[in-house]
Amino acid sequence: MTMREITYRDALGEALHEEMARDERVIVLGEDVYGGPCGYQGCFGVTRSVVQDYADRLLDTPIAEQVIVGAAIGAAMCGMRPVAEIMYEDFVALAMDMLVNTAAKTHFMTGGTICVPMVLRAAGGATSIGPQHSQMWTSWFMHVPGLYVVLPSTPYDAKGLLKTAMRKNSPVVFIEHKKLYNFKGLVPEEEYLIPFGQANTLRPGKDVTLIAMGYMLHLAQQVVDKLRERDVSVELIDPRTLCPLDVESMVQSVRKTHKCVVVAEDVRTAGPTAEIAAAIAENAFEYLDAPIGRVGARQAFIAHNKGMADYVLPDAARIEQAVQHVLDWS
């Protein structure tokens, strides 16, 4: 494969472009997804990649999240494959009913006769914009049967997972991390897809399993590098999709390392770390030599002030501390 370095934003844009070229039924709707030649072209510039070729399939909507998501559902029910863009993950709350009660339940409620092939893209995670623009709520979506939940960590994953999402016949919640849009990584020139439910083992290791995704994966990588200098071998796993969750890969790893720390940017309470830790405890209890460590945001909001925000959010130091804690357990 011919690799080149592109940003997470452009990787997402390439996925949109390729799938729009492949399937005329794909449309993108949302606030400012186009906005004209001098428009925003996506709140975070993701749709910029498709403006030149598919401007007529970028539908600028009013600020009306329920109808953005609901219209995507209705169009999907009638044979289209819409991608709905909601600017910030926090705002998905406005469309939660459409997502939970209609998108997720339609296939079941109609006896399998109507499917809803739509993708809801939203930017999640902390920046410095403050409490209503910074949250990561992936566990809300994980909790709902009938929704796929994706959180890509790298440009490679962003492209491969978005292409898969756009070909699924059930609704996908696709969370993009704001801090990663400008992050660069290697992406093949050739077409590829990444299947859902396949975790990625980024670093093999034998002393402890570290599970993280999204921006947290990058913090976890720093910790892995630092610990390697002290001859600690960490196995780093990115689940990539929270639904379906590749429990098997994580359990296999823990059976080898006997120790585990799970990291997520969501608040710890009832968050993805809770689900993953429970799944590991259920399936690898007898292999564990230490309690499963969990790192997540504190049960609070993300302030505009950096000091306050950093106090609440997980960081490399807290991840390292959690890993050290399980390593020291005896």
């Binding site: 039924r25 009306a64 329920q66 109808v67 169009a75 209609t102 079941f108 499917c115």
Partner: protein
Amino acid sequence: MDTRLMLQMHRDMVFGRLFEERVQQLFDKGLIPGSVHLGIGEEATQVGAVRALAPQDYVCPNHREHVGDLVKGTDPKRLMAEILAKSTGTAGGASGSCHLSDVSCRNLGVQGIIGAVFPVAAGAALAQKRLKTGCMVLALFGDGCSNEGTFHESLNLSSVWRLPVVWLCVNNQYGMGTAHVKVSAVEDIADRACAYNMPGLVVDGNDVLAVYEAVSQARQRALAGDGPSLLECKTYRWGGHSTMDKRLYRPKEEVEAWLKRDPIPRLEALLREKGILDDASVERVHADSLKAVDEAEEFAMNSPEPRPESAMDLVFCPSEV
């Protein structure tokens, strides 16, 4: 209007009425789980509206829409089986009366969440426009539903994008036990159309011919690319909100006045006047309808329960990737 069409709508209303009366009886016998919302008294609106559509047009029904579902083409046996939660129902027992759908006749299904119909219907209409299908979408909703925020979001968007959709409010005067006039700033919901730059029209919802005409015109407008319309059919819910409702909250005089405006005898009188309906034909319509209702009940009652584990089968739709 075509004689055959008027006679058809008469049969639709009689059959719908008898079907729903049977549902009430089955509910009273304890054979229907949950609850059912009946539209007895509102048949003219449902029949007139749905008969104005072509088979390829879509319907987004409300939760009080058995009669409209039957007119759109759902097999009464499968409809009854679904209401009775049987495996032979339109959704294999998963949906019940409150979430009925039948995509085989382009019924996209009831949104059991009041107000969810608006965005879904807007999206369905968007698909018709983008895919150039030459079809339109009829969205039905109650007066109570019209106060949901999605009403505003969706009517606005449908007008901005000139979507082929007809918004039809079945104003049956009550949202559960609350009178429409008590909780709405305007008496005529159709008045709100001006805020969305679309035509708004109040229709006598107990006059099946008036409803048919109004929906036909709005449909033509939608198909011509001129955008959506808001129709408000004034009618009355004879029964309670659901089969469980004791309906103690309505003035007796009000109920009696509306009972006198029964849409079925009203059409019958007109058809008799035109000399196309007589006692014998009315009797035959009743007998045929009753037979079909009996068959639907028998089919439903004799149908097997779904396998409990089938609850897991349809959470996700299979995909190739």
